[in-house]
Assembly symmetry: C3
Homo-oligomer: 275 residues x 3
């Protein structure tokens, strides 16, 4: 029998004890759960990087996905559960980190505010809702407790907005934002692959990537090895969005690009046949 | 049925193969165990940081907690198991890293030295007792082998002392030590919350934190968001002790404070009503 | 009943979501598997460090060991499974990272190229064969699918060669290569302990380690504490090879030594009895 999958994402240090304590809390309540440490060590308090990470739970089996990037912990910000149409539950603070994930998982089916102390771990720590509220919520959901039991229904459109919008596409350009930088220094942009397909760039066609006043020519390819070593490129990432990278190199370091930076992508002008 | 929880703490690199090998060793002996990677990547050979981490296993379910911060591996230092009154077993080298945890788990009920080769993994590596001695001990304990089988009884008071003492409290000041710095740069001090409560500082009262010749005013609050962004604060941490932090900032980097530093906390003088 | 052990090694960021997604992919196919995160965060694209890490799966129980250090992902490089004589299966790209592990696990019993789409996860990502090909292969193998079902047989000697050779031993010297540097800054060399034993250095005998034009005297000992603090030493590592370290110090930082560096070890001349 398949075990319910509960994933954990946080800006805690990788393998800080907070991470293990959240796992212990879940297992203590739902001994049959399968806990996956999805991503930890996100940049401190960075809701953009957190939102992007939560989007990528789409590549996990249907499950219960917790996000603890929560600079407002212990203040009046709400704790919420979103049920997504794919069947997943997203659990975390109402600070925008879950919205985009809900959209990519087919849209929001239901949202509730978590207020029922029955499904929390007492005493509630004012600085660690991951342990006191979010993990217990996921664990009880995984045991079959209905979402309605956790608190009153909210409207998806009343939640705090996502930290980033979708990119803006014009006929010849896309204005985008860097929403993640991975270990290799590749950039992930807020451009959905479905938007890119409409933008209409062909394989191996070159686009111009403008960032920090620099103009970088990027061939649009399928994989890194499609260009020579140390060459920049653009491709579809593994998680619904567009990625800018350097084959065997580090784009972020080379161009000083980071989460939150804006950039502009232009279709390169066709070369004139005349000089 | 609940699985026995075995937690692992080390100064190995996070996700170095040593970590996975310890997990494999445990599972090979006790296939029903649930292994939690509690904390790895502690500062090399730092018994203070290790001791502080082991204290926080109090937030895990009752279990078997292994510490492999062990600069004396392969020398004559003893390998020990402490049974704590809460029901947990603490397993590691006799270098002081387990004592404070035992105290916080209700006190020591029993200590034995691990000498019985029957519960070790042969051949004994002279540089990796985590694999050869500590993990097998935890795994066999989790299968119900009695602590007395592992070796002869020791007295808790004869163990190597903890790397830090409890803070010293006077009427108007506490002399303390930094025993941990987390990823956000917050400091954890060797002041128990029970001592702090006796010290008698009220919510929102300001104390003066002296470190490296600097004097920092800290309001005592419940959570980070109780003060404006970039403001220093003092609060109760999630694990029995006191914490110094900056809301949305990094105290350690700002003031150059690190594990082992001493500091003095003064009650701020009441302001005179006269000029 | 023992669960099949599947280990994961990659140059992905430690706890990047790619790591969790590979775990989810495995569990979705083989719900009884026990996944061990063996090592992540290896230096980007570094096949030497990857090969060395894969060698050390010898310290895990017999299992299914995946390596995703794969700069050629999506190009024509082959995906392979090696069955080793000890009983383990090694799964990854044909870029040399699995060969040395196979040798240390008793030799290669069989190799196949993975080409059968039945045991892949569609759609195949051109940049993430860890998820689309390697993890599904390990998961299906762990459920008992025979290796022959995955594709056509290859010859071990036709695979891409290991990124490093075994060290070269002469009567009084060994020419070696640094194949790993761990978190403590200790160096692991491509010298098998069996070669070292033949080289004939006695316990506490001093050898001269030549690197970057420096000559460092190293006593050959059993454990770090056999020499005073801050003293360099040579010992047998936990994984079949030789290690150079500093007791309570960092050899790599002190001497600027890194993966890929070559070094020469000389037997120190016997001291003459005359002045």
């Amino acid at each position: 029998m398949k075990k319910p999958i509960i994933s954990l994402t946080s800006d805690f240090g990788v393998q800080s004890q907070g991470v293990g304590i959240m796992e212990g809390t879940i297992i203590d309540i739902s001994s049959n759960a399968y806990v996956i440490h999805f991503m930890h060590g996100l940049p401190d308090f960075n809701t953009t990087a957190a939102s992007r990470t939560m989007e990528t739970v789409k590549s996990l089996p249907v499950g219960y996905h917790i996000c603890v990037v929560d600079p407002g912990v212990g203040t009046k910000r709400r704790a919420i559960i979103i049920k997504a149409k794919r069947g997943d539950y997203l659990i975390g603070p109402d600070n925008g980190v879950l919205n985009s994930a809900a959209n990519l998982l087919g849209g929001c089916e239901k949202v509730v505010e978590i207020t029922n102390p029955k499904y929390m771990c007492e005493p509630i720590s004012p600085i660690f809702h991951g342990k006191s509220i979010f993990c217990p919520a996921a664990a009880y959901l995984s045991k079959g407790i209905a979402i309605e039991k956790f608190g009153k229904k909210l409207r998806f459109e009343d939640l705090v907005k996502s930290p980033y919008n979708e990119a803006g596409m014009k006929e010849d350009s896309i204005e985008a934002e860097v929403i993640h930088v991975n270990k290799y220094g590749s950039l992930n942009l807020n451009i959905l692959q479905s938007m890119w397909d409409k933008f209409g760039v062909k394989k191996n066609q070159i686009v111009v990537f403008n960032i920090w006043g620099k103009r970088v020519k990027l061939p649009f390819v399928e994989t890194f090895g499609d260009v020579p070593e140390s060459t920049p490129l653009m491709l579809k990432d593994s998680y619904s969005r567009m990625e800018v990278a350097i084959n065997m190199g580090n784009f972020s370091r080379m161009y000083g690009a980071n989460v939150g930076d804006v950039c502009l992508i232009n279709k390169a002008p066709m070369r004139s046949r005349k000089a």
